[in-house]
Amino acid sequence: MTATLPTRPTGIRPVETVRLPSAGRLALKRGALELKGFFRTKSQFIVIFSLPAIMLMLLGAMTKSRMGVPGVTGAQLLTAGMIGAGIMSTSFQNLGINITLERHDGTLKRLYGMPMPRMAYFGGKIIQVLVCMLAEVALLVAVGVLMFGVQLPTTFDRWLTFGWVLLLGGIACTFLGIAVGSLPKSTRGANAVITLPFLIVQFCSGVYIPFADVPGFLQIFASIFPLKWMTQGMRSVFMPEHAVALEPTGTWQLPMVALVLGIWCLLGLLLCLRSFRWTARDS
């Protein structure tokens, strides 16, 4: 043998004293790689990350009209709604499409054959979603404040509400995104299975149209899903106190927001535990 191979520890193999890299370290490595991949994949970056901000700028500029309550503009309502939609876009839509791609391009199969703890994969996903979501929310808040006169919360209570709505909504939509990523039968099917229902729920949940203007039966329909409650929570944070008069119930219903989002977190976890598959379906 003339050629030599690159470093391979020589000598007798130690008997099962193999030290595998820790799950936490691999989750961080996967998170970093996932983020790099997200911002390099133009279709994902544009549709998932940039679109909510573009929509907010465009629609916000078009809906200057007063909402019948002094000091409240349509653009403010839209900002709060788009923050809710932005959380869902960077978690639910992001993961749903991303995992569909990974199932079909062989990423999941490769990872399954690697000595990687399963949790490192999900840990990486959570890191990627968290970074994208925080950046998205910061971007939308900045657009709202700079362009549409949205006031940043001044009380601790409101920041606290902002925190838990973001957290519960983000967790619920992350689980649902992982679950829905198992549904599309092909990469092309991802838009039909994920983007279209997401768009319909956005319209019904008071993202683009004030929730009070949504017809009653669609309000009930929207109340099943987490997004309606996320936008409502965000309105309680970013709208003036007296804007509560625009809510159909006349209150922010914060305990109900917490309850529904909490239930969706549990339901989402169950759904993704049941539906997620590493291996190809035997058929």
Binding site: A3, G37, D105
Partner: protein
């Protein structure tokens, strides 16, 4: 530690009503290079995927590096290298990023830079994987298969899409790994590849192993009749004979000096293989 890397008894797998693997027995020793041959749909990939732990079996016993692939854990996986058949993942990452990333999963990885060099992608190390040609893309898969310095390497049709030069380079890489003691299980459609690399081959058809042996002697290949051919002023002459040496000796007596255009041929591996799978169908 047992001296067999892979031991399979009565392996069975069905997809719905279709039987893909119908009672396969295999024994692959440590350090061996074993090639699985067979037509499309014969059950090669299913068998390999069960050995890799990617698929569940319906019946039979399987032991890979002493463990059941259906239950084995991370330590077992860290001893395997897997080159998948058709991956298009990691498209947005560079070759170097990809190899570096996956190296970090293993307890005793090879140096990523040397692996990139080994598969001949040094010039493309900073190129995005999506920009590579089909053959270059395959070499990334091979790099990811060997970066963990596996004891057992699975290669599922590794040279599909390679140009002849790249295939030769790949073969010398496999020989290098084999010399180092890596057990290698490969599936291939190319019989010259099996002959060049494998110490033993197994032919699968219809979900069963129809022959196992060294490439040179597979299914009585060495004992089969040889063909002796030479030229005469009246044209080419051919004789099929079990004793070619005697025929050549007789020819030497006939001709003064060189026998014109003399060749002695045995059936190629391809002839033997086609005969084997032909009997099946």
């Amino acid at each position: 530690m047992s001296d067999s890397a892979v031991r399979v008894r009565e392996l069975r797998k069905k997809y719905g009503d279709v039987t893909a693997v119908d009672g396969i027995d295999l024994e692959i020793a440590r350090g061996e290079v074993f090639a699985l041959l067979g037509p499309n749909g014969a059950g090669k990939t299913t068998t390999v995927e069960i050995l890799e732990g990617h698929r569940r079996r319906d019946g039979g016993e399987v032991s890979v590096l002493g463990e059941d692939p259906g239950r084995a854990g991370r330590v077992w996986r860290s001893k395997l290298g897997i080159v998948l058949q058709s991956a298009t993942d990691a498209a947005e990452f560079t070759v170097r990023e990809t190899v570096n990333h996956f190296a970090s999963y293993f307890p005793r990885p090879r140096d990523p830079e040397s692996v990139i060099e080994l598969v001949g992608l040094s010039a493309k190390a900073d190129a995005r994987v999506r920009s590579l040609s089909g053959g270059q893309r395959r070499r990334v898969d091979v790099a990811l298969g060997v970066v963990g310095s596996p004891e057992l390497l699975f290669l599922d049709e590794p040279t599909t899409g390679f140009d002849p030069e790249a295939r030769r380079q790949f073969w010398s890489l496999i020989s290098l790994l084999a010399d180092e003691g890596t057990t290698i299980v490969l599936t291939t459609h190319y019989l010259d590849e099996a002959e060049a690399l494998a110490s033993r081959v197994g032919v699968i058809a219809g979900g069963r192993v129809v022959a196992v042996g060294e490439p040179a002697t597979l299914a009585g290949r060495a004992e089969a009749e040889a063909t002796v051919s030479w030229s005469t002023p009246g044209g080419e002459r051919r004789v099929k004979t079990p004793a070619p040496t005697r025929v050549v000796a007789e020819l030497m007596a006939q001709f003064d000096g060189e026998i014109p255009d003399l060749t002695v041929t045995r059936p190629t591996l391809e002839d033997t293989y086609l005969g084997l799978i032909g009997e099946q169908s």
